[in-house]
C-alpha cells in the first residue's frame, strides 16, 4: 500500500512539474537568431573562400552542419574562440593548410600597368573594384576586404596586397598583461 502511495505521489509530482516546465518552455521561449545567422555574424565576411566554401555564409552553413571551426584564417584565433564559445566546442588551433592569420590589408592596383581586362572585377566577391573593359581599374579601399582573390586572375600582375598602416584612429591600447617588457633604449 505504502509503495503504491509513493508511486502515485511521485507520478503526480512528475506530471505537475512536467506541465509547469512545458508551459514555461513555451511561455518563456527565447527567440534567438537561427544558428547559421549567428555563426555568419562571427565570420569576418572577407568572402575569400580560403575555407573551401564559396563565401562566408556557405561556410557558416557547413559549420552548423558539423564542419570544423578552424578553417577561417582572416577570422584568426579570436574568431575560432568566438565560434567555440557560441557552439560549445573545443578551441582548436587554426588549420594551417587554409593559410595563416595576416594583418589587415587591401588590394592596390598599379594603375599604369592595368590593361583593363576586367578579370579582377569578376573575381571580386564584394564588388570593390571599379572599372570597365579596356579602361583602367581601381580598388575602393573602404569596401575591400583584403581577400586576395583578385591577385591571381590578373594577367599582368599589377595588383599588390598592401598592409593597412596603423593610424591614430585605429590604434588601440594594449592589454597590460600581454605587454612585452621593453628594454629602455637611451637616445644618443
Amino acid at each position: 500500500m505504502d509503495l503504491i502511495t509513493a508511486v502515485i505521489i511521485l507520478a503526480a509530482l512528475g506530471l505537475v512539474f512536467g506541465a509547469i516546465l512545458g508551459f514555461a518552455s513555451i511561455k518563456f521561449k527565447v527567440e534567438g537568431d537561427p544558428i547559421v545567422e549567428q555563426i555568419d555574424d562571427i565570420l569576418p565576411q572577407t568572402q575569400c573562400g580560403q575555407c573551401g566554401y564559396p563565401g562566408c555564409k556557405p561556410y557558416a552553413e557547413a559549420i552548423a552542419n558539423g564542419d570544423e571551426i578552424n578553417k577561417c584564417p582572416p577570422g584568426g584565433e579570436a574568431g575560432v574562440k568566438a565560434l567555440a564559445e557560441l557552439l560549445g566546442r573545443e578551441v582548436i588551433p587554426l588549420d594551417e593548410e587554409r593559410g595563416e592569420e595576416k594583418p589587415p590589408s587591401v588590394a592596390y592596383i598599379r594603375e599604369d600597368e592595368c590593361i583593363g581586362c576586367t578579370k579582377c572585377i569578376q573575381a571580386c566577391p564584394v564588388d570593390a573594384i571599379l572599372g570597365a573593359p579596356k579602361l583602367m581599374h581601381t580598388v575602393i579601399i573602404d569596401e575591400c576586404t583584403g581577400c586576395d582573390l583578385c591577385v591571381e586572375p590578373c594577367p599582368v600582375d599589377c595588383i599588390d596586397m598592401i598592409e593597412l598602416p596603423q593610424t591614430v584612429a585605429s590604434w588601440k591600447w594594449q592589454q597590460p598583461e600581454q605587454m612585452i617588457p621593453v628594454k629602455q633604449v637611451e637616445a644618443n
Binding site: 591600447w173 597590460p176 605587454m179 617588457p181 621593453v182 628594454k183 629602455q184 633604449v185 637616445a187
Partner: protein, 370 residues
C-alpha cells in the same frame, strides 16, 4: 598570475613602443602594508590570549605561520609562479596567523599543520591563488579541524586565574608536540579548573548547561562567567575590538562589515532575549564571547572573500551576525563565526550581482536587471 613590469615606451628614436597608461602618480600603499597592519592590530588580542591561556597560543602561531610559508612556497613552485613577490605580499602569513588565533592553546601540532596546509592548498591555491578564492582560507582550515577533531577543537584551557594547575612553558611545548606533559601530571589534570571539571569556553559552558535543562541564571553562576561574558574571554574580545578599531582608523578595513556583523548579532539575539531571558543570552554576552570580535573585525573583513559593493557589505555583515547567533543558539556548535563566514562567502557572488552601484548619470541599477 604572472605580471611583468613594463618600462613605458621610451625609445627616442621613434621606433615602435609600448605605451603605459596614466595615472603616473601612485598612493604609497601596498598589499604587504595592509597585511602587516592586520597582524599588528591583532597584537593586543594576542597578548590577552597569552595572558589568560598561556604560551600555547604563541606556539600555535609559530607552527601555523611556518606551515603556511612552507606550503605557499611549495605550491607556488609547483604552479610555476614567482615565489618571492607573492610570498612577500603576506597573505599566507595572515591566513595562518588568524587561524592560529582561533585554535585552542594545547592543540597537537600536527592538527595545526593540517589545518593551515589545507587552508593554503585547498581554500586558496586550488581556486587560483590570492584574489580568486571564494572561501576565507583561515575559516576553511578551522572548520576542517572542527568537524574532524571536535573534541580537541573545543577543549580550551581554563583561564590562568581559574586553573588548578597552571601550565608552564615546558609543559605546553611537550603537550603540543608529544601529547604528554613533562612531569608526572597528566594533560587532563592541567586542563582542570578549580572546580574540578574540564574547562570549556563560556559559550560552551552555557550551551552544555542549557542542554542539561538548567536555566540561564543558574548556568551563569559558574565561576567562568564574569562581567561582559566570561573570565578572560571578555578581555580577549575587548582587545580584538581595540585592534579592529585601530584598523578602521587606519582605513585598512572599512567600518561597514564589522558594524553590520555586530548589528546582525544584535538584531537576532535581542528579540530572543526579550522573549525568554531564561533561555537566551543577552546580546552583550554574545558580543564579547567566543570569537565575535576577532571574527567581526579580522575574519569577516577579509577583502577577497567579502562582498565589495557598498550595500553588499551590509548584507554580508548582517548575514554573518545573524547566522552566528542562530547557530550558537539553536545549532549543535557553541560558536559559529566560522560557519557563518563560510556560508556568507558562498552568497557573495549573488549579493554583489544584485547590489551593483548606481553609476553616475544612470537610473537605478535594480531596474536594469532582468
Amino acid at each position: 598570475m604572472t605580471k611583468t613590469t613594463q618600462l613605458p615606451g621610451k625609445n627616442h628614436k621613434g621606433l615602435c613602443m609600448k605605451a603605459l597608461s596614466s595615472p603616473y602618480d601612485k598612493k604609497t600603499n601596498s598589499v604587504t602594508q595592509m597585511m602587516l597592519w592586520v597582524v599588528g592590530a591583532t597584537l593586543p588580542g594576542v597578548f590577552a590570549l597569552v595572558y589568560f591561556f598561556g604560551i600555547g597560543v604563541i606556539a600555535n602561531i609559530m607552527i601555523a605561520c611556518t606551515t603556511a610559508l612552507a606550503t605557499e612556497s611549495l605550491i607556488l613552485r609547483l604552479r610555476q609562479r614567482p615565489v618571492a613577490p607573492i610570498l612577500w605580499d603576506g597573505s599566507a602569513f595572515v591566513t595562518a596567523w588568524l587561524l592560529a588565533l582561533a585554535l585552542p592553546p594545547l592543540l597537537p601540532w600536527w592538527m595545526t599543520v593540517l589545518g593551515t596546509a589545507f587552508a593554503i592548498v585547498f581554500a586558496k591555491h586550488v581556486y587560483g591563488g590570492l584574489g580568486n578564492n571564494i572561501f576565507n582560507p583561515a575559516m576553511v582550515g578551522y572548520v576542517l579541524l572542527l568537524i574532524s577533531f571536535p573534541l580537541e577543537m573545543t577543549t580550551w584551557l581554563p583561564p590562568q586565574e581559574l586553573a588548578a594547575n597552571p601550565v608552564g612553558v615546558a609543559d605546553t611545548i611537550s603537550i603540543i608536540f608529544s601529547g604528554q606533559a613533562s612531569n608526572a601530571a597528566t594533560v587532563d589534570m592541567l586542563k582542570q579548573g578549580v572546580d574540578g571539571y574540564t574547562m570549556a569556553t563560556p559559550l560552551d559552558h552555557i550551551k552544555t548547561q542549557l542542554a542539561q535543562g538548567y536555566r540561564l541564571p543558574e548556568a551563569e553562576s559558574a565561576p567562568i562567567i564574569e562581567g561582559l561574558s566570561g573570565v578572560g574571554w571578555q578581555w580577549v574580545n575587548l582587545t580584538f575590538l581595540l585592534g579592529g578599531l585601530a584598523l578602521i582608523l587606519k582605513k585598512v578595513i572599512g567600518w561597514q562589515i564589522p558594524l553590520s556583523v555586530l548589528l546582525g548579532m544584535g538584531i537576532v539575539s535581542l528579540p530572543l532575549f526579550f522573549a525568554n531571558s531564561d533561555q537566551y543570552l543577552f546580546p552583550m554576552f554574545h558580543g564579547f564571547a567566543g570569537a565575535t570580535m576577532l571574527g567581526a573585525f579580522f575574519i569577516a573583513t577579509d577583502p577577497v572573500t567579502a562582498s565589495t559593493t557598498p550595500k553588499g557589505r551590509w548584507i554580508f555583515g548582517l548575514g554573518i551576525g545573524a547566522i552566528t547567533i542562530l547557530i550558537r543558539t539553536f545549532g549543535g556548535y557553541p560558536d559559529a563565526i566560522a560557519f557563518a563566514v563560510l556560508l556568507m562567502n558562498m552568497a557573495v557572488p549573488m549579493i554583489d550581482y544584485y547590489t551593483k552601484t548606481r553609476t553616475y548619470g544612470h537610473a537605478n541599477k535594480a531596474k536594469e536587471l532582468r
